[in-house]
Symmetry: C2
Amino acid sequence: MARKLDDLLERLGDATDLSALDSAVFDLRDRYDVEHLVYHSVKSSGDQWAALTYPQPWVDAYVENNFQTIDPVVLSCFRGFTPVDWKRLDWSSRPARALFGEGIANGLGNQGFSLPIRGPSGQFALFTVNHRSGDDTWGKFTRGYMHDLLLAAHFVNERALALDGEGHAPHQALSPRETDALTLLAAGKSRAQAAERLKISEHTLRVYIESARFKLGALNTTHAVANALSRGLICL
Amino acid sequence: MARKLDDLLERLGDATDLSALDSAVFDLRDRYDVEHLVYHSVKSSGDQWAALTYPQPWVDAYVENNFQTIDPVVLSCFRGFTPVDWKRLDWSSRPARALFGEGIANGLGNQGFSLPIRGPSGQFALFTVNHRSGDDTWGKFTRGYMHDLLLAAHFVNERALALDGEGHAPHQALSPRETDALTLLAAGKSRAQAAERLKISEHTLRVYIESARFKLGALNTTHAVANALSRGLICL
DNA sequence: TTTTCCCTCCCCCAAAATAGCGAGGAGCAG
DNA sequence: CTGCTCCTCGCTATTTTGGGGGAGGGAAAA
């Protein structure tokens, strides 16, 4: 069963652009005979984008109305790690029910599960399998194909995030002291506290912060820390 | 081949404590006949911990010397999304070479690949496969078992993060305005500039920053921005 | 309906960060 | 040796933030 995936995963590994991903997603949908598959980059440094099989009117409506801010699937995935089965979510709130109804009206299936994936700079994406079936059929389906689709999802996600992240700046390295300084500031220390911790004068610390700011092209300390964090130059 | 994993994945899904994970990791190692398997929670709101088959002396040395701050594997995974093959990393720096030599001396294999995984609150973990072989054997091994082990890795990671995250407060979400404020500050804007951008008074903006600081338990603006970034609450 | 958040605005003053000008020594590569 | 970066320290003045009070309207949930 998993072998059914091998050539596809191979293709994904070699994918150099997003259209290859897109076609892979369509291919996956046909192989597993589900209603829809969606790869959706919810939060990213660049533009949001997606590789999906949803009908365009639904996508447009979703984007225009900023549905991701009320979609229980997105919200739940965003604060979790594990795959989420749609039917275990709380659809009780009014906007959520409206969203679900709208989806059905636009050709979506009533069942689904979604998988959250994160990148190093706060990128956040979803991979969703959408299907039309009763609860028992759906249960059998998830038991049978969950592993396959998760594996596929991870590959799609990895490839997508990698492609998405390719443009990111070749970061300038910080000196050890600069790293120390920014790390302490990111931890909430004031300049005086950080200087004390590093056993140097506050003025010296200031020099490090300024040179780090310069190297990172940052306008102030907060900006420098934010940059360093999102580039992985420091960590909390 | 993937069927070899089914019962293990089943077991993992039901795992309710870390020892179950631990035994699963040992089980995995035996099935695939590799040198070592490592699940390592590098960054987490709680304590760092791991489920691994490395010899204890090596683990102790690693922790004591804070090797994760110079380990190319950790550093590379931290700024990436995709699985990393050890031999494609830059081992040219002196401390890195020393680290590698120490590892070999402690019984580690010379080959490996590692997979980064992230959780919603900035948790960051690694799953590593370590093996002793020549480059060609290793190439065959990765081609043959990569998919299996990735799948296993994801399951271990998901389970581990879920267990790890169980005690953590479901961190308080920021209000839209608070998110806006922190996002602009992270982009290097001053309070005045951010207020202008949001078309509100600077006083109002300050209220948002303060309440965000309070919610995040941050000591100052920089701290709040760093927290929000690493928790994925804002992005650049 | 009441409560609870969220958004918006205002005051004052102390504390902290930023900007500008400096200086010298250590270590390493060409 | 010369130039480079890194590390260390000093001063003053200005700008920005932080902490402490408030207050009212609106929307959504309990």
